[in-house]
């Protein structure tokens, strides 16, 4: 039997496969398809302090090997999460991580304080990288000083595992990773979507209501892999990799490049059973390669 367990800061994961924020709802939506307790973790939909309606329709465009989205953090706010959703999902027997969003540092702090109270939320993912709304924090995630400021403020009020989600829309992602590590982040996750655009040639209008949106899916995998590798070489904290992971081989590539864990996002739209297939595929790979622990994979790239 291979050992799939990994650790991010002080948090144990039964395996390195998580579902990505904004692509699995609160977990419940995919419970028909898979046994959620098999997952390493679930990062729930981006949450804000207040209820948000999100952006206007249309919010989606299909692109070569990928898609654009401009959801804009539609969610019912943290109160609704705590009152209505948390009680339903808290005993799912997997790590439930909340994706935290704000437009000001005060928002981030206030939201984090609320989540800090919740026993069964062992970690938050601080999203400073959503390209689709001002409140998504991408403005924070694209410069070192602002990334540092928000992480510093949140770190003060949050004692559990703090994961910071990085934006790929930057010149040097390793610098941002080092900056947030310096402020006490326990882990970084990457990448969020790449700012992109689709045009309808016939109507000469943007396809998305917001003109630009975030690109995800296999198209971005080579960029995500590169960034994970750069960040892995720049920081000491564990890296959580994502971007276009569709199968076990993709996940293994991310781990070889330095990811301690991976998140599966857009792939869920194609097939919500993929995370479980990936877990099985990693096991099979490890057996074939005579590995005992999945830690042997992490950062095993031979250059």
């Amino acid at each position: 039997m291979v050992n799939l367990g990994i650790k991010i800061h002080e948090l144990d994961f039964k395996n390195p496969v998580l579902t990505a924020s904004g692509t699995c709802g609160f977990g419940e939506e995919i419970a028909d398809f898979i046994d959620l307790s098999l997952l390493g973790g679930i990062v729930v939909k981006g949450t804000t302090l207040k209820h948000r309606e999100g952006n206007a329709y249309p919010r989606m465009a299909e692109t070569p090997s990928g898609m654009l989205n401009a959801v804009g953090l539609q969610n019912k706010g943290v109160d609704n999460f705590i009152t209505n959703i948390y009680p339903r999902i808290k005993d799912l027997n997997t790590n439930i991580i909340v994706n935290v969003n704000g437009s000001t540092i005060e928002d981030y702090v206030a939201l984090t304080e609320r989540l800090n109270e919740l026993d069964k939320i062992p970690a938050i993912e601080l999203n400073i990288s959503c390209p689709n709304v001002k409140e998504g924090g991408m403005a924070f995630g694209i410069s070192c000083p602002s990334a540092e400021a928000v992480v510093r403020a949140v770190r003060k009020v949050y004692s559990k595992t703090l994961i910071v989600k990085l934006s790929p829309n930057v010149t040097n992602i390793a610098d941002i990773a080092k900056a947030v590590e310096g402020q006490g982040a326990d882990s970084v996750s990457l990448i969020n979507t790449l700012l992109a655009m689709a045009v309808n040639a016939e109507t000469r209008k943007p396809v998305l209501s917001t003109i630009t949106g975030g690109l995800s899916g296999p198209a971005i995998k080579p960029i995500a892999l590169r960034m994970v590798w750069q960040v892995y070489n720049a920081v000491k904290i564990p890296v959580i990799g994502m971007g276009g992971i569709m199968n076990a081989t993709d996940a293994i590539e991310f781990m070889i490049a330095g990811a301690s864990a991976v998140q599966v996002g857009t792939a869920l739209f194609i097939d919500p059973t993929i995370p479980v297939q990936i877990i099985d595929g990693i096991s099979a790979y490890m057996e074939r390669h005579k590995m005992q622990s999945v830690n042997e994979l992490i950062g095993s790239l031979q250059c």
């Binding site: 028909d32 939909k45 999100g54 329709y57 857009t266 739209f269 097939d271």
Partner: protein, 257 residues
């Protein structure tokens, strides 16, 4: 029925006219509790430029044979590719998805209006409601008789009327010009419709005006189909609702029409 990712066996792929095909898919497991308005999200295999699944309404069900059928109209690359699937091949789909139409009471007099590929859920609804044929009126619109789909198998379930833009079948004009619709609409206690947006809006507004119960089935662009991506939203009176899970069927009174 629980949602699943299922490999269906394509039993039959029948070209109905130039652009429309009926596909009969057999599930390896029994199917249960499928209702008009629900849909399935189909993987388009081996297509170089297609990434996402494509949603199609359930046209009919045969519980004994574990089959469901679809009415697929060629619109773009994905629907085209799907209609090229050959009987005997497998088709992977996520199903069942979405909420169905509110089924009428025995006492209702219902009007079903379908346009284009929107006839699929209307025919399924006619069949489910058609135990008491006198009460089911079905109005079907098409550009021309050549785009029209043979509905004879469903005519036992209600009274059928047709409208074509060129007058080649039934009355000439849109469904909203048809005498059934422009006549005494209040004879109907419930109106159900599925079809082009403009058609549904015209019908919905009239129903609101006349204060008739009316449900429409929307076809917003979808990425997932099961409520996780939040891409398919319709801006309703109570905020953004997912067409794939809160719909695709909505009561017109809830929409901002």
């Amino acid at each position: 029925m629980k949602k699943t990712v299922t490999d269906f066996l394509l039993l039959e792929n029948k070209q109905l006219n130039k652009d429309n095909f009926r596909l009969v898919l057999q599930s390896p497991q029994p199917v249960s509790d499928l209702f008009p308005g629900q849909f399935i999200n189909v993987e388009i295999k081996e297509a170089s430029e297609i990434f996402l699944r494509r949603p199609f309404s359930i046209l009919d069900v045969n519980y004994n044979q574990h089959t469901i059928s679809l009415l697929v109209k060629i619109l773009g690359r994905g629907s085209k590719k799907l209609t090229e699937t050959i009987a005997g091949q497998t088709i992977n789909a996520i199903f069942p998805l979405g909420k169905s139409f509110t089924l009428p009471d025995k006492s209702d007099r219902i009007l079903l209006i379908g346009g284009g590929s929107g006839v699929a859920p209307m025919l399924f609804l006619a069949k489910i409601c058609g135990l008491d044929p006198a009460n089911v009126t079905v109005l079907i619109g098409a550009r021309s008789v050549s785009d029209h789909i043979d509905v004879s198998a469903y005519q036992q379930f209600g009274q059928f009327f047709f409208a074509t833009e060129d007058g080649s079948l039934g009355e000439k004009g849109y469904v909203t010009n048809h005498s059934v619709f422009s006549g005494e609409l209040n004879q109907f206690s419930k109106i159900y419709t599925c079809g082009p947006d403009l058609m549904m809006k015209a019908i919905g507004r009239k129903a609101i005006e006349k204060n008739i119960f009316c449900e429409v089935s929307l076809e917003n662009m979808m990425a997932c189909g099961f409520g996780v991506c939040l891409c398919c939203v319709e801006d309703t009176k109570t905020g953004h609702k997912c067409v794939c899970t809160d719909g695709p069927v909505f009561n017109v009174n809830d929409l901002k029409w």
